[in-house]
C-alpha cells in the first residue's frame, strides 16, 4: 500500500504540526533532521510528510498527489478550490483585518478606495459583501508600507497582535473580516478510498489538539 502522504506548510505550521504528530505518538525524527529533503517518512507508520509552500499544499492535495495537507485558513480563503476541510488544528491563529492610517475615517467620502493586500481574492470578497467598489493593488511583502507611502488608503492583511500595525502608525478599521487558524485538508477521493487510515490519523490529531 502506498504511504499516506501529508503535505505540510513549511515554517511555523510545519513545526506546530510536527509537535502535534509527536504528541500523538508518531516518530518525526526524519522531519526534524530533514536537511534539504522535501519528502520524509514518519517512523513506525505508513505515512510520508511532504514539505511545501502554503498555496502548493492546496495544489498537491487538490490534484490528489498528496492525500492530506496542513495549511492556514488564509491560504484556503485566498485560493479556494476543491477539497475537504476536515479539522481545525487550533494553532497558527490570527485574523484578517482591514487597517488604515490612524486617525483617518476610511469610510468617509465617495472616492473609490485603494486597498493594498497580499490577498486580492479575500479582499474582493470582503468588499463585495459590503457592496463597495474598490481598487486592489497586490503587494508581495510588508503591506503596511503601501498606505504609509500613499499608494493605498488601507490594507487587508493577517494580524496576530496588531503591534506591527501600531508601530507603523496604522490602526485596525475592522478585524472581523475572518478568523484564521491551521486546517487539515483532504483530497476528496482519498478521503473515500483511504477512509480508515485518514480517520485513525485525524482522531489522534484531534485528541492532541488544544492540549
Amino acid at each position: 500500500m502506498k504511504p499516506l502522504r501529508i503535505a505540510l506548510t513549511k515554517g511555523r505550521l510545519e513545526k506546530d504540526t510536527v509537535g502535534l504528530l509527536e504528541a500523538a505518538g508518531f516518530d518525526c525524527t526524519a522531519v526534524r533532521e530533514k536537511g534539504r529533503r522535501l519528502i520524509l517518512p514518519i517512523g513506525g507508520a505508513n505515512i510520508e510528510v511532504v514539505l511545501a509552500k502554503a498555496a502548493d499544499v492546496i495544489t498537491y492535495v487538490e490534484n490528489g498527489v498528496c492525500d492530506l495537507g496542513v495549511v492556514g485558513k488564509d491560504t484556503i480563503m485566498e485560493n479556494g478550490r476543491s477539497f475537504y476541510e476536515i479539522l481545525d488544528l487550533g494553532f497558527g491563529k490570527c485574523r484578517f483585518a482591514l487597517a488604515g492610517k490612524a486617525g483617518t475615517d476610511f469610510f468617509s467620502g465617495y472616492e473609490a478606495k485603494t486597498i493594498a493586500t497580499k490577498y486580492p481574492n479575500v479582499t474582493r470578497g470582503f468588499f463585495e459583501g459590503k457592496g463597495m467598489d474598490i481598487r486592489i493593488i497586490k503587494i508581495e511583502g510588508s503591506v503596511e508600507l503601501a498606505p504609509l507611502l500613499g499608494l493605498a488608503d488601507a490594507i487587508v492583511d493577517i494580524v496576530e497582535t496588531g503591534s506591527t500595525l501600531r508601530e507603523n502608525g496604522l490602526e485596525i478599521i475592522e478585524d472581523n473580516v475572518a478568523p484564521i487558524s491551521a486546517r487539515l485538508i483532504a483530497n476528496t477521493a482519498s478521503l473515500k478510498l483511504r477512509k480508515a487510515e485518514i480517520e485513525e490519523l485525524t482522531k489522534k490529531m484531534e485528541a492532541e489538539r488544544g492540549k
Binding site: N63, G64, S82, Y84, E85, I86, K192
Partner: protein, 399 residues
C-alpha cells in the same frame, strides 16, 4: 502582436497515440456497456444558448463557462454539461416519445477553470440518462449500469451512495434563510467541520442542527445509516434513509463488499439532484470519476415534467488511470510494409487491402526506392517488407 499559433490554450492538450487510444478505448468499452443495456447514443450541440445553463438551475457559476455571442448578439456558451441539453432535447423533439427514454452520450464538456491549477478545461464525458421512469427499479438499473461500466475498466472502483433529499428534509427544519441554508450545504459538501460548527452554533441547540453538524462525517459502511437513524426524527428524512438502505441492500447482492460505501454528506452543487445520488472513485484519480443521481424536478423547468435518473463518467480521468496501470493496448506496429516497384502502385495498394481483409496489419509504403522502404521498416520495427512487382516477394527486414 504576439502569436499563439504554436501552443494549445490553457487547460487543453493534443491527445497523441497512447493517450488518444486510451481515451477511445474507454469510450468504446463504456459505449458498448450502455448500448448492450438498451441505451441509445445521442450527440448535442457543442454551443448552446447561455439561458440553458443559468446558475440557479445548473449550479455552474457563470464565470466558469466559455462564452461567445452569435450573429444576433445573443449570449452563447460552449457546452459545460450534457444533462441539461438532453433535458431540453427530451422535452422538445422527443416530447411525444414513449417513456422510458434511454439515452447515452459521449462528448466533450467545457469549463473555464482558474488558471495554472492543472485542471482540464475540456473533458470527455460519457454517461446515460433514463428518463420517464421513477422508483427503485429505475434507480437500480442506472446504478448497476454505472457499476458494470466501471468494472469493465478498473476492478478496484468504489461506488458511494447518498440521498439529496435527506439533507433537504433535515435542513428544512433549520430556522434560517435560504441563503444560509445554501451556505450550510456548501460547508457540508466540502466537509468543512469547523466552519459548519460555527454557523450552527449561532442557530442554537436544536435537533436539526445536531444532525447537520454530524452530516459531513456520516460516510462509510452501512453503519452510517444506523447512526443517522438515531440522530433523526423527521419522518421525511427517515424515509430517505430507509430508501438508501433498500438500495444498499439490493446492491450488496452484487458482491461488492467494501467497494459499496455510503456518504450522507453527498450534497452536490448540482441542485437538480432530488433523491438518490451516487459517485464513483478509483485509486489514482484525485477526483470522482463518476457522478450521478435522480433529478425528478429538472424537466419541470422545460414544461414537461418527468422523473429522470442518470450519471456521467469522466473518460479522461478513467483513461489516465488505465494508461498508468498499463491496461491499455499498445500502439500497434504494422506486420508488413508493402513497397511497390514503379508501375505496380495500384497492385501494391490492392495487396495491402487484401492483407487488411485477412486481418494482417499492413502499411503501404510511400517511398520511391526499396532501400528507403527497408530503412524505414527497420526504424519503425516492421518485421516484413513485401515487394510488389511482377510477382510479390516478402523479405525479413531484420527489425
Amino acid at each position: 502582436m504576439k502569436d499563439y499559433f504554436r501552443i494549445t490554450p490553457e487547460g487543453t492538450k493534443d491527445l497523441l497515440f497512447e493517450e488518444c487510444l486510451a481515451n477511445r478505448t474507454v469510450s468504446s468499452i463504456l459505449g458498448s456497456v450502455f448500448s448492450h443495456r438498451g441505451f441509445h447514443e445521442v450527440l448535442t450541440p457543442g454551443i448552446e444558448f447561455y439561458d440553458l445553463f443559468s446558475e440557479e438551475i445548473s449550479g455552474i457559476p457563470m464565470e466558469s463557462m466559455f462564452k461567445m455571442s452569435d450573429s444576433k448578439g445573443r449570449l452563447m456558451v460552449m457546452r459545460p454539461d450534457s444533462t441539461l441539453p438532453i433535458a431540453r432535447m427530451v422535452t422538445t423533439r422527443l416530447m411525444n416519445e414513449r417513456h422510458p427514454i434511454r439515452l447515452y452520450y459521449n462528448q466533450r464538456v467545457y469549463r473555464c477553470n482558474p488558471g495554472l491549477t492543472g485542471r482540464s478545461n475540456e473533458v470527455m464525458q460519457t454517461g446515460i440518462e433514463l428518463i420517464g421512469a421513477k422508483g427503485k427499479r429505475a434507480d437500480l438499473e442506472t446504478i448497476t449500469t454505472a457499476i458494470e461500466a466501471l468494472s469493465k475498466c478498473v476492478p478496484d472502483f468504489r461506488i458511494e451512495l447518498g440521498n439529496a433529499a435527506f439533507f433537504k428534509a433535515v435542513a428544512k427544519n433549520l430556522p434560517v434563510s435560504d441563503e444560509k441554508r445554501e451556505e450550510i450545504r456548501t460547508l457540508i459538501e466540502s466537509k468543512n467541520y469547523s466552519a459548519l460548527n460555527s454557523v450552527l452554533d449561532k442557530i442554537g441547540d436544536i435537533q436539526a442542527a445536531d444532525i447537520i453538524r454530524k452530516l459531513p462525517g456520516l460516510f462509510g459502511g452501512v453503519e452510517v445509516l444506523d447512526e443517522a437513524y438515531k440522530l433523526c426524527n423527521d419522518e421525511t428524512a427517515l424515509k430517505t434513509l430507509e430508501y438508501v438502505r433498500e438500495i444498499y441492500n439490493d446492491l450488496s447482492k452484487l458482491g461488492l463488499g467494501e467497494r459499496l460505501i455510503i456518504d450522507l454528506g453527498l450534497v452536490q452543487r448540482n441542485d437538480y439532484y432530488s433523491d438518490i445520488v451516487f459517485s464513483g472513485y478509483v485509486m489514482g484519480s484525485g477526483e470522482p470519476v463518476l457522478i450521478g443521481g435522480r433529478y425528478d424536478k429538472l424537466l419541470d423547468r422545460f414544461g414537461l415534467p418527468a422523473p429522470a435518473v442518470g450519471f456521467g463518467i469522466n473518460v479522461d480521468a478513467l483513461a489516465g488511470v488505465m494508461l498508468e496501470r498499463g491496461n491499455i493496448p499498445q500502439k500497434q506496429v504494422p506486420a508488413v510494409l508493402v513497397h511497390s516497384v514503379k508501375g505496380h502502385e495500384i497492385e501494391a495498394i490492392k495487396y495491402t487491402m487484401a492483407l487488411s481483409e485477412a486481418n494482417i496489419l499492413g502499411e503501404n509504403s510511400v517511398f520511391e526506392t526499396e532501400e528507403q522502404a527497408l530503412e524505414y521498416a527497420r526504424y519503425k520495427g516492421i518485421k516484413k517488407l513485401a515487394i510488389v512487382g511482377d510477382e510479390i516477394k516478402t523479405v525479413d527486414t531484420g527489425a
